[in-house]
C-alpha cells in the first residue's frame, strides 16, 4: 500500500510544483515588481480584513 502511496505522492508533488511555478509566473506577469515588494516591516497595513464564515 505504501509503495502505491509513494507513487501517487510523486504525481501529486509534480502537479503541485507545476501549479506553484505557473502561479508564480502568472502573478509576476500580472503585477508590477514595485507592488509585489511593497511590504514594509512594522507597518499595520491600511487594509481592512473582512472574514466571511
Amino acid at each position: 500500500m505504501w509503495m502505491t502511496i509513494a507513487n501517487i505522492g510523486w504525481v501529486i508533488s509534480g502537479l503541485l510544483a507545476a501549479w506553484m511555478l505557473y502561479d508564480w509566473f502568472s502573478t509576476d506577469s500580472s503585477y508590477s515588481e514595485e507592488s509585489l515588494t511593497s511590504s514594509r516591516e512594522g507597518e499595520i497595513e491600511a487594509f481592512t480584513e473582512k472574514h466571511k464564515v
Binding site: M1, G9, S13, W24, L36, T37, G42, E45, K50
Partner: protein, 465 residues
C-alpha cells in the same frame, strides 16, 4: 472561510493578519513535538536513561528562558523575521544578518530532518520492496505538498498544524494512560529498566554529552515569533501561545521519557529512531502501534509545515531590508504569503533531504539553533540596558531578569561543549561558514541596504546614546 481585502489609502501588499494564540501554539508545538517522537532518545545513548531525564528538565529550563525572553522582546518588536528583526534593532545589522541565517538554516535543516523521519518510518513499516524511488517519493511529497500549502495561505497552513499537532499530542496522552502508569510492573517496568547500576553508565560527562540531543526535546519553540506580523494581536497572542507551548512540551517530554524508559532498555532507547512507535509496539496492542505510527508521521509533518513557514519568513525579511536581493521580499497579492521565498527554499530542502543523513541534518539544525540561543541571552541584556522598563511599551515583561539570560548563556556553553564532543568538525565548519558570510555581508552586500529605512520601530533613542 473566505478572506477578502479592500484597499484603504495605502496600496502596500502585506502579510495577512489572521492568526490568533491557538495558531501561535500550533506553530511552536507543531515544530517541536516531533522531538518527542524521535531525536531526544539519542541522549540516552550518550549518558543513559536517567541522563535523558535530567537533560529533559535542564534543557526545559533553557527553553523556558528562551520562551520568556522571546515573549518580552517579540511583544515589542512584532515583525516577520522574529529574532532577526529583534537583532537588527537591538544589536545591529551584522548580528541581524547572522541571526537570519541561523533561522533559515535551523528551520530548513529541521524540515529536511522531518521529511527523512517520515520516509524512514514508512520504510520501516512497509518492510521489503520499499526502494529508493518510493523513499524519495515520500520525501518529495512531504516537502512539496507542504510548500504548496504554505504558498496558498498562512491561515489554512496553521489550521492544519493545529489539528495534526493536537492529534499527535493526544496520542502521547492516550499511550500514557493505556500503559497503566498507576500500576508499575503491569506494563511498565521502570525499576527493571533503570537501575542504580545503569542509570548513568558514563557518569556526569555522559549527561553533558547528552545535551546535544536533549535540545531536540524543545528545538524550535522560538519559531512562534516568526508569526509576529501575521497575528491579530502580537502583544497578547505571542506570549500566550509561546508559554502555553512550553507547558505542553514539558508535559509531553516528561510523559514520553516515563513511557519509553519504562519499556525500552537504555541501550536500545539510545539507538532506535522511533522510541514512541517502539513503545506502542511493545504494549502488544495493535491499535496503539498504528496510533503511534500515525502520530509519528503527523508530528513530523506538522514540524516540517511550521519550518517551511518560519524559514520563508526569515528569508523574506532579509530580502525586505535588502540584506539579500529585494526580489525575495515579494508578497503574493492574493494569498498574502512570501511566495518567492517559499519556492526558493524548496529545491534546497529537497537537495539536502535526498543526499544528507538524518544525523547530519539534525546536527546542522541544532548548531544553528544553539548559536541563535546564545545571541538571545546577550540580546535581552542589551535590550533591557538600552530600553529599560518604562521607556517603551512591552506586551510582556519576563521576571527575574537577568537570571534567565545568564541561565540560558551557561546552558548554551554546555551544549556547545557537548556538540564539540560528538560533532567537532561540523561545529567548526559551521562557524567558518558564518564567518565567511559575515565578511561577504560587511564588505559587499551592505552597500545595497537602505540604512535608514531598515529601522522601523518608533522607539526613543536608546539609553546612553
Amino acid at each position: 472561510m473566505a478572506n477578502t481585502t479592500t484597499a484603504g489609502s495605502a496600496s502596500h501588499i502585506s502579510l495577512s493578519r489572521v492568526l490568533g494564540p491557538a495558531h501561535v501554539w500550533a506553530l511552536g508545538v507543531g515544530i517541536v513535538l516531533v522531538g518527542e517522537y524521535t531525536g531526544w532518545n539519542f541522549s540516552a545513548d550518550k549518558g543513559g536513561a536517567l541522563a535523558a531525564l535530567i537533560i529533559c528538565w535542564v534543557v526545559g529550563l533553557l527553553y523556558t528562558s528562551v520562551a520568556m525572553i522571546d515573549s518580552e522582546v517579540t511583544s515589542t518588536v512584532a515583525a516577520a523575521g522574529g529574532q532577526y528583526a529583534q537583532a537588527k534593532h537591538i544589536v545591529g545589522p551584522l548580528m541581524a544578518f547572522n541571526v537570519a541565517l541561523y533561522l533559515v538554516f535551523a528551520y530548513t535543516m529541521l524540515e529536511v530532518s522531518n521529511a527523512i523521519v517520515v520516509a524512514d518510518i514508512v520504510k520501516a513499516y512497509q518492510g521489503e520492496g520499499f526502494g529508493d524511488w518510493h523513499y524519495k517519493g515520500v520525501i518529495a511529497t512531504v516537502i512539496i505538498v507542504l510548500a504548496a500549502l504554505n504558498y496558498r495561505g498562512v491561515l489554512m497552513t496553521l489550521n492544519l498544524n493545529l489539528v495534526i499537532t493536537a492529534i499527535a499530542f493526544l496520542a502521547i496522552i492516550i499511550l500514557f494512560f493505556s500503559v497503566q502508569p498507576w500500576s508499575q510492573g503491569t506494563v511498565l517496568k521502570l525499576g527493571q529498566m533503570v537501575t542504580p547500576e545503569n542509570a548513568l553508565p558514563y557518569g556526569w560527562l555522559g549527561v553533558i554529552a547528552g545535551f546535544h540531543w536533549g535540545i531536540w526535546y524543545y528545538l524550535g519553540i522560538e519559531g512562534t515569533t516568526q508569526a509576529a506580523e501575521e497575528v491579530r494581536s502580537p502583544a497578547r497572542s505571542l506570549p500566550y501561545g509561546t508559554m502555553a507551548g512550553m507547558i505542553t512540551l514539558i508535559i509531553g517530554a516528561s510523559l514520553t521519557w516515563y513511557i519509553c524508559a519504562s519499556l525500552l532498555p537504555w541501550q536500545y532507547l539510545g539507538f532506535t529512531y522511533f522510541p514512541l512507535f517502539d513503545a506502542g509496539k511493545l504494549t502488544g496492542n495493535k491499535g496503539l502501534e498504528v496510533l503511534m505510527f500515525a502520530a509519528t508521521v503527523l508530528a513530523a509533518t506538522a514540524s516540517a509545515n511550521g519550518c517551511i513557514n518560519d524559514a520563508a519568513r526569515a528569508w523574506f525579511s532579509l530580502g525586505r531590508d535588502r540584506y539579500i536581493p529585494q526580489w525575495f521580499s515579494a508578497v503574493h497579492p492574493k494569498y498574502r504569503t512570501p511566495y518567492r521565498s517559499i519556492i526558493f527554499l524548496v529545491p534546497i530542502a529537497l537537495a539536502f533531504a535526498f543526499t544528507a543523513n538524518l544525523g547530519q541534518a539534525i546536527t546542522f539544525s541544532i548548531l544553528s539553533g544553539v548559536l541563535h540561543y546564545t545571541f538571545m541571552s546577550l540580546n535581552i541584556i542589551a535590550f533591557r540596558n538600552k530600553w529599560p522598563l518604562g521607556s517603551i511599551r512591552r506586551g510582556y515583561t519576563h521576571p527575574f531578569h537577568p537570571l534567565p539570560a545568564i541561565v540560558l548563556l551557561i546552558l548554551c556553553v554546555v551544549t556547545f561543549f557537548a556538540i564539540f564532543l560528538g560533532y567537532g568538525a561540523q561545529l567548526t565548519a559551521m562557524v567558518v561558514f558564518y564567518i565567511i558570510m559575515s565578511l561577504w555581508f560587511h564588505f559587499y552586500r551592505y552597500q545595497y541596504v537602505k540604512r535608514g529605512a531598515q529601522f522601523t520601530m518608533p522607539w526613543p533613542k536608546p539609553k546612553g546614546y
